[in-house]
């Protein structure tokens, strides 16, 4: 091994390379990969049980049908909320003060989604779809409920950023980190909707 290859040329050294992503966003992305695998686990379990259903009946006989159209409309609120948050990000980069209204709008749209999902659950429970009534009901509440818990957590985090924005102490890394999680919640939903409802 010659000296040249053992030691790098002195030029350009030492330098600390610029991180590709800030710590918070990178950490959140790693977490989101785990979350994607978590939901893949749920979806694959659901697909396997669905494909083995007695007589290929899915939903099973005697179980209520899921409200496909209402939920589609509700999903739209969630998607718009995600788009508004993208808009919020660019506004924040330009002028943090103007970002308040789009951020609030995004939170409200997200809350509408969670609220309607809750109302839908109450209706379905009344119609006799429970976690114990069938594996169909079990998977419905498990998958949609997991997503709901993530949505509530993400909304709480968004409210925290809104609070910090109001106090003028919000850093862009914080907004980016929380937004990344909300984008995950928004983008995973169409897949869950397709798998569970359709």
């Amino acid at each position: 091994m010659s000296a040249e290859s053992a030691t790098y040329p002195a030029a350009g050294r030492p330098d600390r390379g610029k991180p590709i992503l800030p710590n918070g966003v990178l950490g959140m992305l790693v977490f989101i990969f785990t979350e994607i695998m978590f939901f893949s686990g749920l979806i694959s379990a659901h697909t396997i049980v669905k494909s083995q259903a007695a007589g290929q009946m899915w939903p099973p006989y005697g179980q209520p049908r899921l409200p496909i159209e209402e939920t589609a409309l509700n999903s739209l609120a969630l998607l718009v909320s995600g788009i508004v948050l993208v808009f919020t990000w660019f506004t924040f980069k330009r002028d943090p003060n103007q970002a308040r209204i789009p951020l609030l709008l995004s939170i409200i749209l997200g809350s509408i989604f969670v609220g309607f999902q809750g109302a839908e659950w109450v209706a379905l429970l009344a119609e006799g779809l429970t976690m114990q009534s069938s594996s169909y009901g079990g998977f419905f509440y498990l998958i949609v409920g997991s997503h709901g818990i993530h949505a509530v957590g993400a909304l709480a985090a968004l409210m925290w950023t809104y609070d910090r924005l109001n106090k003028d102490v919000l850093r862009s890394t914080q907004l980016a980190t929380v937004s990344a999680f909300w984008y995950f919640v928004v983008l995973v939903w169409p897949i869950l909707y397709w798998q569970v409802y359709l």
């Binding site: 600390r16 710590n23 977490f31 594996s135 079990g138 890394t173």
Partner: protein, 573 residues
């Protein structure tokens, strides 16, 4: 976004200067955010759990060799207790010893020190990680003492046995066990985020991707594997928990569920998990070998790339655990091929170790002995794995003592030899004093020789058709001839000898910690950055204005142009 990054880093740097004030004992050692203290917390919790796991092995091995006797220190073992002991021995040794010690303890201690950072990027998440882990340990230990006793459905926890208290008779124990495992995963999730982000963003100026010591790479690759594989298991665990607590039917075939589903979700995590603990152990071994062979690693990039290849392949081998579970035989063919394939990168790493040793000036210190024995013992574990990976042979070997001996030949080198190797090598850095080498060698031989006497007889028993998880072989006269009893007794006596020799280790640790020779900064004359600071390193690792800068790779030993045979990474020119 560049301005923001600079802002944050500046902010964090300032925040750190503020930390240098006197702290009370509790805030310094119990609620610390310092990565070195958290590492020691993980290390000692892991060792404590290791003692409990070892005690469990002692109790059930005594029952196997001398059925029905009153085991000294435990009493008579009932069938339920026997099941709880083997289940929790497995769970503890994998989730509460191998993972916290190899990944969490050494990852926390080594990554910031080896890449020249003052701490992890998320110190408070790091503290939370240990706290969650600690709670999970307490929950697991509690589960042994609740009504009905500890969970006895094996560490794989297959439903329907695990899904209902009616079947396993340990309703509360099973739920607490599952809860403890889930909490433990959350702890490592938090730790893993920290390791990956720290390695990506906090390296010393000048440290490029191929200047990172291999052990850091290995721990981070292991963390990535863990993060990618744990999701499906968590999903499965939530379903199992609901089956236990809410009486759902996810794994109940009578209600449209599927018990095999759990096996898929479990082993999708369970097999990558083997490599999650293996890779850090290989990283430690390689690090120690380079130092004590005074030679550059043969093929740094090869080790790195084969580790990545192992990681990718490890996601496609899980169903080799299910050859007799009624899976499609065509699927069994596919998984046989992938399983045999994964031995190629692992063999490559062993060849790299041999090539590193070849022509080196080897010093047989205690850590080096551990590293060499890792290679030898793991090789036996790997080679016997070929038999089990081949679906034809596995149908005979499945669930026999052959399987048990095989995975102990892999996990013992990983979790025990790897830990002792790392502990004896980095002990001077952790505590500032040298360990006694003679006592270390007595402990080494007193562990390695009995280890082989425990598990080689078990290979023979397994090939004779003796099954695992049987409480008393006298109930099965066909497979319990007198020659088998003798082999079981040899294994148990060897275990007693091995456990007795661990006292030498604890004595050595205490004496060396109190009265050992002062280590100085760099007792092994090694190159990596952790040896450039005080032993033990101060809070912040280096003085704030003296953080190291990196000029070359970590394994420049025996360079012809230099008088000294080592060349630390931080020396210019």
């Amino acid at each position: 976004m560049a301005d923001t990054v600079a802002d944050v880093q500046q902010h964090e740097a300032h925040g750190h200067v503020d930390h240098h004030h006197e702290q009370s004992w509790v805030s310094k050692y119990v609620f610390s955010v310092d990565h070195k203290i958290i590492a020691l917390q993980y290390l000692f919790t892991g060792m404590f759990m290791g003692i409990i796991g070892g005690y469990m092995a002692y109790v059930f091995r005594m029952q196997l060799a001398f059925p029905g006797i009153s085991v000294p220190g435990f009493g008579q073992v009932s069938p339920g207790e026997y099941n709880a002991l083997i289940t929790n021995h497995g769970s503890i040794m994998i989730f509460w010893v191998a993972m916290p010690v190899l990944i969490a303890a050494f990852g926390n201690f080594l990554i910031p020190l080896m890449i020249g950072a003052d701490d992890m990027v998320f110190p408070r998440i790091n503290r939370l990680s240990f706290q969650v882990f600690f709670v999970s340990s307490v929950v697991l230990l509690l589960s042994l003492f609740v009504e009905g006793g500890g969970f006895g459905g094996a560490w794989t926890s297959y439903p329907p046995l695990s899904a209902s208290g009616d079947y396993n008779q340990t309703e509360l124990g099973a739920t607490l066990w599952l809860l403890a495992v889930a909490l433990e995963f959350v702890a490592f999730l938090l730790g893993g985020i920290n390791f990956i982000t720290t390695l990506m963003n906090s390296r010393a100026p000048g440290m490029r991707a191929y200047d990172i010591p291999l052990v850091c790479w290995m721990i981070v690759i292991a963390s990535i594997l863990f993060m990618l594989s744990v999701g499906p298991l968590l999903a499965g665990a939530v379903m199992l928990l609901f089956d236990q607590v809410l009486n759902t039917g996810f794994y109940d075939p009578a209600r449209g569920g599927d018990p095999i589903l759990w096996q898929h979700l479990f082993w999708f995590f369970g097999h990558p998990e083997v490599y999650v603990v293996l890779l850090p152990a290989i990283g430690i071994t390689v690090e120690v070998m380079a130092t004590f062979a005074r030679k550059k690693i043969f093929g740094y990039k090869m080790v790195l790339y084969t580790a990545v290849a192992t990681g990718v392949l490890s996601f496609f081998v899980w169903a080799h655990h299910q050859f007799v579970a009624g899976i499609d035989p065509r699927m069994a063919n596919v998984f046989t091929i992938t399983t045999l394939l994964i031995s190629v990168p692992i063999a490559e790493m062993l060849f790299v170790m041999i090539a590193t040793l070849y022509g080196g000036s080897i010093t047989l210190t205690t850590p080096m002995l551990w590293a060499l024995s890792f290679m030898a013992e793991f090789l036996i574990g790997g080679v016997t794995g070929i038999f089990l990976g081949a679906s034809g042979a596995d149908i005979y070997f499945h669930d026999t003592y052959f399987v048990l001996a095989h995975f102990h030949y892999t996990f013992f080198p990983i979790a025990i030899i790897g830990t002792f190797c790392a502990f004896t090598y980095w002990f001077p850095k952790m505590f500032g004093r040298m360990m006694n080498d003679t006592l270390g060698k007595i402990h080494f031989w007193g562990t390695i020789i009995p280890f082989n006497f425990i598990f080689i007889p078990l290979f023979v028993l397994g090939m004779g058709g003796q099954h695992r998880r049987i409480y008393n072989f006298q109930h099965f006269p066909d497979i319990a001839g007198p020659e088998y009893f003798q082999l079981r007794q040899i294994a148990t006596i060897a275990l007693l000898v091995m456990l007795a020799f661990q006292l030498v280790f604890f004595y050595n640790v205490i004496v060396s910690w109190m009265k050992g020779e002062k280590a100085g900064k760099n007792p092994w004359k090694a190159n990596t950055l952790e040896w450039t600071t005080e032993s033990p390193p101060p809070h912040g690792n280096w003085p704030v204005d003296e953080l190291p800068t990196v000029y070359r790779g970590p394994y420049e030993y025996g360079h012809p142009d230099r008088e000294e045979d080592y060349w630390p990474q931080n020396l210019p020119g």
